[in-house]
Subunit: 130 residues, 2 copies
């Protein structure tokens, strides 16, 4: 719960950078593997701690998929959703939101955010199946 940007340590900045440089949402373990290259001796606990506080600070966003370890991505990408390929388990970004979301909200409820995940086959896997 940070109102203003808490200042980050150099290690936390390095960890954040790993997520910002990643093409896709990655797991904490993934981030550790990469960050260890830049920060020798970096402990896994530090990465978990950093991810948690970066999410709290709103710098990272959690991407959770059924049956999988949570992934995280830079929040600088803005609000977006994801397409999960059941064949290759890759996660693709989707920029737009569907219309008519508000009409789903039950009476008296207040929607603050939403999350959408599409499941199916990505372009490559679909082609491979043909």
């Amino acid at each position: 719960m940070s109102k203003e940007a808490a200042k980050l340590t150099s290690k936390q900045q390095a960890i954040l950078r790993v997520f910002e440089d990643a093409e896709q949402p990655i797991t904490t373990q993934d981030a550790w593997d990469v960050a260890r290259g830049e920060v020798p001796g970096l402990g896994i606990a530090t990465v978990y701690r950093a991810v948690k506080s970066l999410v709290d600070d709103g710098l990272l966003r959690t991407v959770e998929l059924v049956g999988q370890v949570p992934r995280y991505e830079s929040a600088r990408k803005g609000h977006l959703h994801h397409f999960f390929c059941r064949e290759c388990s890759s996660v693709f970004d989707i920029g737009d939101c569907p219309s008519g979301l508000k009409s789903l909200v039950p009476d008296g409820f207040q929607m603050e955010d939403h999350s959408i995940v599409l499941y199916g086959l990505c372009k490559d896997c679909r082609a491979a199946k043909a």
Copy 2:
């Protein structure tokens, strides 16, 4: 998904019934707590196994929420989505789907399913805050 309905044991049926009788999606632990009342000596491992096979058979659906243990609900409710109240952590069903989902699918991709979760305040919590 299930070609033919695999025949369920009496314990599996009891476990399935717990989910079907539940108002909201519940966790495996929740189901165990209830099912133990009907089936004395029921092992937690049996519940985990039953849930997994029931999901495979298409009789249960997984409801996954960020930072929470997965919950399950009867698939007989049909396709639906969920509203998660960040205040009381309750999960509410939403029947409809937004329009325009297909337009989100990237070119060449094939969507087979989708999942939507809305976050916010439920009616009661919103009233309590006012």
